[in-house]
Symmetry: D2
């Protein structure tokens, strides 16, 4: 496969499989002088870790991260950061379970496409590189980005906007922050959260799984990030989001709903506020012409229901090219929507940081006085 | 700006503004031996051209394309294809109209963000590089990709799925093809099309504009295209789609709706058909684990209502940093959804071709027998 | 072909053949606010233009450049600069000459490799994309880079260090500047220049051609440019230089000669000068560890003798796969070394600017006080 | 820093410092189905390892490599290969030695440029990321490339062409292979080798160090690899070579010497041999117009004398910005030329493989019959 790097200036390159020895990320573009250690990255990773609630898979991965390159005495040296997480929960019983069905396509998973592409050497254990385990390294990389963005006053937070058909009310960044990660479904609207959890557990009881929508908001983003034409910041963000395993859709601001508005209903009207331009509404989701406009970036991603279900399914045995059955699987995530929040946040942080660096590199060779319009 | 190239192997690099002299695209990765001429590209461009229906802007651009490099005697030489379109409708009256409002933010347009980024030298005429005119070169590049894909039996067609709140019924690729571009709204469901047109003209009469959803389908796509992890084919496609000016959302297959299904409802069940794997449903939209699975790729993009409206709007004068009014503008597209179809098709073609080349380059160094599973 | 873009931040993408309609370059990364016009670019191009001295090919190309995108009212807008040069000297007589030998490999040229790669559709006229004509666009792009670098006090000048075996004495940047382009061989050491010219004309009289060495010096380059490990600035520069048609070697500072020195003879010894670090010598050519050290960047490139000679040569007819003869060709450059200077300068400017932008983008996210060591 | 990835299709991304915990390489583009294990990579690494002869540094690094990702049951899965080497020789005594001189510029090393760029957080221990230790991962990556190239019949071998001013006679690929790595200086010309060793030991005895020239030859390379204009294969190779720490020059075929030949002396004359095109000579070094011509690729790189010497040197203390002395250092490589051979071979393998994949990806979309000219 060819696509294991993301970014143009802040570049994340990762490897590692679900049941391989370890996962590693290399962060090209790590600045020097950043205080960072294992414990800091660990804290971010813990938000993505499975096995912590009845909504998650019971797999017991401690996801202990270690920075093995790029840091001396707790401070980055400018060399690329190297981070490693060893896979520890690789019990024979689970490996055997995967081995037993290694020729079967697990519906909703990538066995077939990986077999098409990589032949019978495609990793049959735990989905290999197609497993959600790779998202550990996205979160670890995002944690580094988070710390750098904080110096610019940029904050990114996500939450579950909708799960199992239950939708939370509209929330501002401050409202999300005020009640962040307050429950197992990661939805700050407690009333909706309770209903979501109830609905997911009900679906779980039937052996089935649920999907949902994650909303992520970036605040404090300066106007000016994004590179027209093909590397609009929303294009980069959409790329990053859609590269997350179970994501089936991405939208900004009013998103698909904006198609049902008229121009006069959809346009964000600017006005002067404290000597700077602000907008009365944020239907664009913080991006106009592919460049941030100073409003919050608001993105929503559609997370499909977990493909692994505890119900028998028809399928194909690829070794015999015969129709067969895949038995119900018990070890699974009733929904990954809550866990996906950390991954979605990470991708937004990485994308924003990448654009920030591009913008600063470009602007350095301009003769442009940004203060003319209050910046 | 830094983002004027799209693709890794089949690379489109473009330049040119709305009211500049010309638009150019350079296609790195053009193969040798392809019969191609101006007339062929022109035909594709004509589908995007404004001024052809009451739903479009009355701007009279003939969009005459000329291939100036990469072709000898009507056949490509392997050198990068160079294509140029001169802007011809640059009448003083229109330039003056833009000049008169050059310091005003046109709501829903990119003036503010371009001014933030490029200062007062940002092109004030006709939205400059942020104008939809740049999409000409996407369509021209897509026309080349189309011809190459045809050799592999890959076909891509799009249509207006929804406009002004009116949604067409579900259509297969063959149904789309059978009634392709049969009406001014580019919707093969004639009943829905009639309602869409009626609704758009109604909105137009009020000086307002409409948005919509474009669906695009690729058929004949072999299983195996897409590069995990970060360059999943759906990620590349989402990148390309979201880079189109007025797009606010992208989804594959069931998309956002899949979040309301359970796993058992959402999983596509495989079975053996003629010695190969097929799927009972295509809720994934043709992509599993970031790699095509042999089913049609189905993508929908949300196109916001045209920002330019014939109604007065509040806005800001950037030269004075004062609130002011932008007067109603008469020359505009009541909806660009129909014209966007050609652009959306082009981006899908380019993305698929790019991945096809990556896949072939990668597979050439593998020892994998793809016939084992009937391929 | 796939390689028509150079650079990561300041990106030059070009197309066009020797006997096609036109050559175009698109400059992604052009800053806004730069005063630039056709006349300025033209001046740089004129230094590369053939037909101006008895040492050059008599082809009469005026190389009139026109900026068709990215500029409004003489100032860049931030949009990518588009530049076009039409080929005007495409007389039937010359086209016919090429047509007559279209199946013959011209020794030292790229016919064979292009035929291998692109088949019989490879452009047979005037070497197509493999012609030195493409270097026009390098020079045009380099002219833009030159203007941007000037704002940072960076100057780049080249000259012919050696031609036809005659070597100029060692020259500082100031000495090169003081006598820049003062003669037809572009060598500021007038005594050596006279000998070079004499020697080349002597070789020309025999129907043969000469090669040489171009040295190019960049002064005013701040310490800190270059990205370890794989994108050291000398690596980027070597890439750029070796991509020029007739170049067979590249070296920095003492270059190949440094291999014959001992460590104590080769190390550049630092000392404090006006509160900053300077070096007693510059054997490294301004780069240590892949990063500029504040001394002049000194690069030398080996330019092979022109392949086209006025002497009969043995060769192969590719259409018959038979040995045959290629008749002497009269229209040729006795040496391209003098004309190559402008191209070599351009590539160095582009490479430095690209690294400057990378450095500024990266440094913006660091907390590093560069004044600590006097910067 | 930003430059830790090399390649477009076969992409090596690496991290790790001289005295950090470990070095890691991630190989994006690793094919599935390749039998590979730690022992195979180890064998290649052992050729680069220090401490094995009196010509090397006495540092005792065992360079034990472990593949931690991308392989299952001894065969690659298509996932990116992850390889790790732990640094084991990090004794306090050596760390202290580095600590004691951490503010001094070691002449010929990268302290100053790294301090300029990364401030005082730049790694002061053992040259950090600027250390030659990073080349381990180049060799490990090159070992993978070697195995893939072997399937195409492509072989790459290097040797010391010149050291301490002693030059070996001209050698063909077969001659190099016949006497490969037969002595501690890695020069198959035993007579020259003996003189080189004698000369280096003589220089070593004076506390000084020697440089040299490495020649590397690739045989069995098919005609057709290389991407005009900017990504000519010689440009990519030059980039890769110049990115190696101590390299000061690169040349192909006759290289700098070709500048002293005339066109008739320098042109390689083609002829028909066994129904295919061959060349009477190989002055071009296997590349014409940036594309391989089927002859051996012949590259030479200039390796400067080791910067660390056992002689006192003047230098600057960066913490005080004062002139001072750096005491003689005993632990050093009298010459790294012999050890550089493995690194130079690796970079050539990686570059060729990268171009092979590009070529195959591109050619797959062409309608070109390469058999027409005997291929």
């Amino acid at each position: 496969m060819l696509g294991n790097t993301f970014g143009r200036m802040f570049r994340v390159t990762a490897c590692g499989e679900s049941y391989g020895d370890a996962l590693v990320a290399i962060l090209d573009g790590t600045p020097a002088g950043l205080a960072i250690d294992d414990a800091y990255i660990q804290k971010e990773l813990d938000a993505r870790r499975p096995g912590t609630s009845p909504l998650d898979s019971p797999r017991k991965e401690t996801d202990q991260v270690h920075i093995f390159a790029g840091v001396r005495d707790g401070v980055t040296t400018g060399a690329p950061l190297g981070m490693i997480i060893y896979n520890v929960d690789r019990q024979d019983i689970h490996v055997k379970q995967y081995f037993d069905v290694k020729d079967l396509i697990r519906p909703g998973h990538a066995e077939y496409t990986y077999n098409v592409k990589y032949g019978k050497n495609a990793d049959w254990c735990g989905a290999g590189r197609a497993s959600g385990r790779e998202t550990c390294m996205r979160v670890a990389a995002g944690a580094v980005a988070k710390k750098i963005l904080a110096k610019y006053g940029i904050e990114v937070l996500g939450y579950v906007k909708e799960c199992a058909g239950v939708r939370a009310k509209d929330l501002t960044f401050d409202e999300v922050k005020a009640n962040y990660r307050s429950n197992m479904i990661n939805c700050p609207d407690e009333e909706a959260a309770a209903k979501m959890i109830e609905k997911v557990l009900e679906i779980k009881a039937k052996g089935d799984t649920a999907g949902g929508v994650v909303e992520v908001i970036a605040t404090g983003v300066p106007a000016g990030l994004g590179e027209p034409v093909f590397d609009k910041i929303n294009a980069t963000i959409a790329h990053g989001m859609m590269s997350i395993g179970s994501v089936r859709g991405v939208e900004f601001g009013e998103g698909f709903n904006s198609t049902r508005l008229t121009g006069s209903e959809c346009n964000d009207i600017p006005y002067v506020k404290d000597g700077k331009v602000a907008f009365r509404t944020n239907r664009a989701g913080g991006v106009e012409g592919g460049i941030t406009n100073g409003e919050d970036i608001v993105v929503r991603v559609a997370v499909k229901p977990t493909a692994t279900i505890s119900i028998d399914q028809d399928t194909v045995d690829l070794s015999k090219m015969e129709n067969t059955k895949l038995a119900a699987i018990t070890r699974r995530d009733p929904t990954i929507t809550a866990r996906a929040v950390a991954v979605v946040e990470a991708m937004l942080r990485i994308a924003i940081l990448d654009h920030l660096m591009m913008w600063k590199g470009y602007d350095a060779i301009q003769d442009v006085d940004h203060s003319e319009i209050g910046l």
